[in-house]
């Protein structure tokens, strides 16, 4: 193999943008065919579908004029999955036996099982990222990732617990810390990455959302806890229903106290759903803008409006799909139920077992069609859409540094991907 020094006439492009050039029709074809084959193979096809999706997304993404290439194969994912099963089956079996052995104390076993599987899930997330990076090629060089999956898993658990305890206020620092760990262990060739986004900045940007969604929930729960005379309630309940009215009369705050948490939860759910795209946009923009590889810096012009546009497309497609499936389902159920009832032998209106099994089968078919349909629409609108707006709003500086990068990476195994798949924590 002939090699040369990288001093040639390579055109240094100090700044560059990224673009996505994939034809959307091809992606739909890929997804719909994949969904049908998922059903036919009871899910085994997912490794091929995931690989197809990545090949499509990577190949159609151009950064500063050069395309990404995905080198992974479905066979690697399948082997990774089988390895993960080999590890997980004894773990599951052990937990099952432990739960049986401990009898009424089995609650602790399920807590331990939950923690164990959560840690394993975070480990899988980290290792799966390593697999994807080593299968990603740009300008003839692979990415790779070092660092310890267990260390990441412990840190991730710590930050998830902190986020839960602080009702989300620790989330920005958690994300910043985990992202710093991931990025400083990420390399493009021999060019080390880093992450410069600050948790405080993310908190400042997200604080209005937190105030609008989480704070009302907090108030709705805390206010009744302090205004109502809770110690009187057990006696009142023992006294029976008739005393309830009396109690309420004596403590007028109670009606409001019971209503307030309900309203607060409803508010949080509705506003949370409405503002979720804004939240996602903020996090995505903060994340992209914090990425660095050596002298290469990233800026982004991402707007919340485009994230909302992505979700509107999802809603619109889902609505149309839901209406169509609803109509088909009614016709199908009526045909199956009606048809088999009419041809019932003894002439009564009682339904035969065959008709009922037919109804169950039709219901399952409709349900599976719904779920797969929504998942396909989600992939084609939200996943593709966020990928597209994420890349297309990017501007890169200092690209000349790429010319001096040398190759070092060796591919890694797909074990993390397999674990992530078996534990349902997979990503792109």
């Amino acid at each position: 193999m002939t090699t040369i020094e990288a001093t040639g006439p390579a055109v240094p492009s100090p700044t560059g943008s990224a673009r996505f050039i994939g034809p959307i029709d091809a992606f739909w074809v890929l997804l719909v065919r994949g969904a049908l084959l998922l059903v036919a193979t009871l899910g085994i096809y997912r490794f091929w579908l995931a690989t197809d999706i990545r090949r499509y997304l990577w190949a159609n993404t151009e950064i500063a004029g050069d395309g990404l290439e995905y080198l992974g194969t479905a066979r690697e994912l399948l082997i990774g999955f089988l390895t993960a099963i080999a590890i997980l089956v004894p773990v599951y079996a052990g937990l099952f036996i432990a739960a049986l052995d401990s009898g009424p104390g089995g609650r602790w076993v399920s807590v331990i099982a939950f923690v164990l599987l959560a840690v394993l899930g975070q480990f899988a997330v980290y290792r799966a990222r390593r697999y994807r990076l080593t299968r990603t090629m740009f300008r003839g060089l692979r990415f790779h990732q070092t660092g310890s999956g267990w260390r990441y898993a412990i840190c991730a658990m710590f930050w998830w617990i902190m986020s839960a305890v602080t009702l989300g206020l620790a989330y920005p620092w958690g994300q910043a810390s985990l992202e710093r760990y991931k990025m400083r262990n990420t390399y493009y060739g021999d060019l080390q990455g880093r992450f410069v986004g600050s948790g405080a900045r993310l908190l400042l940007r997200g604080l209005p959302l937190w105030i609008v969604t989480v704070l009302p929930l907090l108030i709705g729960i805390l206010v009744p806890a302090f205004t109502v005379d809770w110690e009187a309630i057990p006696d009142m309940v023992k006294g029976g229903g008739a005393d309830f009215g009396k109690f309420e009369g004596a403590n007028p705050a109670l009606a409001a106290a019971l209503l307030l948490p309900g309203l607060a939860v409803a508010w949080t759910l509705i506003v949370g759903a409405l503002l979720y795209p804004a939240f996602q946009g903020i996090v995505l923009k903060w994340w992209v803008a914090g990425l660095r590889f050596g002298d290469v810096t990233v800026a982004t012009r991402l707007r919340k409006r485009s994230v909302y546009g992505v979700y509107m497309r999802f809603l619109w497609h889902s609505l149309a799909f839901g209406v169509v499936v609803g109509i088909v389902a009614v016709i199908l159920l009526a045909a199956v139920g009606g048809g088999l009832t009419v041809f019932d032998k003894d002439g009564t209106l009682g339904r035969s077992t065959a008709a009922e099994i037919g109804m169950i089968a039709a219901t399952v078919v409709v349900y599976v069609a719904m779920m797969l349909g929504f998942s396909t629409i989600f992939q084609a609108t939200v996943r593709l859409g966020l990928w597209r707006v994420g890349f297309e709003s990017v501007e890169l500086h200092g690209l000349a540094a790429l010319d001096r990068v040398k190759a070092v990476a060796q591919p890694s195994t797909a074990l993390g991907e397999g674990l992530a798949d078996a534990l349902n924590v997979g990503g792109y």
Binding site: M1, T2, I4, A6, G8, P9, A10, V11, V39, A40, T41, L42, G43, I44, Y45, R46, W48, T51, A59, D66, G67, E69, L71, T73, A74, R75, Y92, L100, D101, G103, P104, G106, F138, R139, G140, L141, Y188, G189, L191, V237, K238, R351, T353, E356, I357, I360, V364, Y367, V368, M371, L372, S375, L402, D403, R404, V405, K406, A407, D421, N424
Partner: protein
Amino acid sequence: MSTSGAGIFFDGMAGARHEVTIELEQAAVVIRGAADCDMLARWPHDELEPVIAPSGVLRLGRLGSTVPARLEIRDVAFAAAVRALATGVDRRATESRRGRVRVVAWSVAAVVSLLVLGIFGIPAIASRLAPLVPLAIEHRLGRAVDVQVRQMLDTGKPGKPFDCGAATDERAGRAALDKVVGRLEGAAALAVPLRVTVVRRREANAFALPGGAIYVFEGLIDKAERPDELAGVIAHEIGHVAHRDGTRSVLQSAGLSFLFGLALGDFVGGGAVVIAARSVLGSAYSREVEANADAFGVDLMNRIGRDGRALGVILVRIAGAIEPGMQALADHPETRARAVAIGQAASGGSGAALLDGPEWTALKQICARR
């Protein structure tokens, strides 16, 4: 045919982007720097491997090379000329295309054989395995299931214990129940001691757990008009204990959930398929199991000299009261057919009555504390 054209070359060793001139020779393509004409690489035709690229771009790798060098050609006509020379093909794409036909075909075959295993294999394995499970393990299993069942059933009405028969005004009822159970248990010759519990639930129902625990709901005692009817139902449940059906159903559902849940079905909506398959298959197993428990119950009633037909009578009464719903999901075979089969096996009651009048009245009051 043009013999040279422009392209972009990445050598796979460094990240630099080289503008190159590509010359087509007899047996190879020669890649030279566009500015200085230095030869960067020479790839034989049979090592040219097209790899995935956006439409309008021909991207080539070198087959069998560990260094992922890439050559890109964007001029459509020249790209077509180079592609014609390449005897290699997109290895990853064709490999996966050929592979996936095989995968789909074998997966469908596997689905079929798993279904066959689920329908015929697992029940057969579970029925052979259940008698081999040591009684100590069955006891332990029963205790674990018992905790779950109580958590599910006990809706926690304040001021009343979930179990009936403990309060002062319920003790006479408990004694009457023990009398009925004692007579049945004496005739049944079981390997495990029975533990019959009456609980405060409005539904007319009863079930047996692994290890000899039997639950009778208050609603069933309300529905029973004669001691023989209640005894018939308990005899049926004793049939489940004798046949170790609880253990068998735990083995079956563990087998089914392992079969459909862990190894397969991990796609969106797959959970519903698993649950539907398990409940339909599960109830298909239990039809046969229920028929066997009926036969055991009637035989047991015959042995103590009481009327086994009473079981059929109360079953029909209960079935008439509930909604005629999804029969395929109901655990028990069609009630009328069951009652007929029970009637044919029953030999009529000539033995001593199970309870006298006051005892039966007391038993009806076993959940009196309201």
